[in-house]
Symmetry: C2
Subunit: 195 residues, 2 copies
Amino acid sequence: MRVFMAEKQISIATVQVDLRNGEQYSDTFRAINPRCTVPVLELEDGSHLSEAIAICWYLERRFPENPLFGTDPAQQARVLMWNALCEQEGVYAVAEAFRNRAGGLEGKALTGPLGYAQIEALAERGRTRVQRCMADLDERLARTPFIAGDNFSVADITALVAIDFAGWIKLQIPEKCAHLAAWYRKVAQRPSTSA
Amino acid sequence: MRVFMAEKQISIATVQVDLRNGEQYSDTFRAINPRCTVPVLELEDGSHLSEAIAICWYLERRFPENPLFGTDPAQQARVLMWNALCEQEGVYAVAEAFRNRAGGLEGKALTGPLGYAQIEALAERGRTRVQRCMADLDERLARTPFIAGDNFSVADITALVAIDFAGWIKLQIPEKCAHLAAWYRKVAQRPSTSA
């Protein structure tokens, strides 16, 4: 969300939720988001949105300058498609690898109030998926300058988050993925990424 | 997609992919969608879209009549949020339960060309997640007539797909989920659902 807001050049008051100490499970936070996940956006009417894609789309509609979802129907659809793939095969795959093995997350292999036991085989599967995702993105970036096509979009932000998050499971962009590595250097230089 | 197109009152030539016999892994289909998933939409320029959310959004923009994503930014964001939740906790959770146990899907626990071994614990976790998802949707539908708010939307279609798909793992809406059951009866009566 930080990178997204910086790219849109908008500034919204933020509150950091102390995930490490389980603040997302507190009664106060549950009243805001019963699913106990971040990010959450509070709207003017006091209601709340969860799910990154929903929050980003809301901000895109409210602040149309510097579009991050493309503009015509085909572009927008391509952004949604690649964003979904980067989320599913990137971010969620890292989470699968990380949450099913990390000490301190026993019984918390999925986000949410109810908890799920860790599954060792799933931690391993997550690592495989992340590596395959990187190879797929490398192939994609051999053909287009940005993930969803000619322009930087929210799909690039999701991919960037996935790759940075992969550091937590000690996976870096492999040497053979030269296109992905070049893309990463390019997007990591954008001012938004140090926001 | 069938229900979505019927609600939009649009008609597009469709081709059935023989998933049971593995047509999605054929060279012909891989050239269309290297991820070997359905649905896929072919655009006028010959390019292809995968991922249901991307295809539905493209059709929404091209055929704005009978909106299924809401209209103002907050409505649209709420539709995207609930659609993501129904997909993740509904459709994908059923897939997790089904694909990790079904005979004939050994080595195919996730969609895609590369395959993943079945994990028995995951089949069980999937069932738990589906049951929790139904309870969450029941709670939601105690407060709103449709999943994303006052109007029928693509989130209702995704929820409907999840519940019908849950029949494959022998899970029905439990009796205690009266709001969800009433909603199901209501949406199942729409002409689109028999399209």
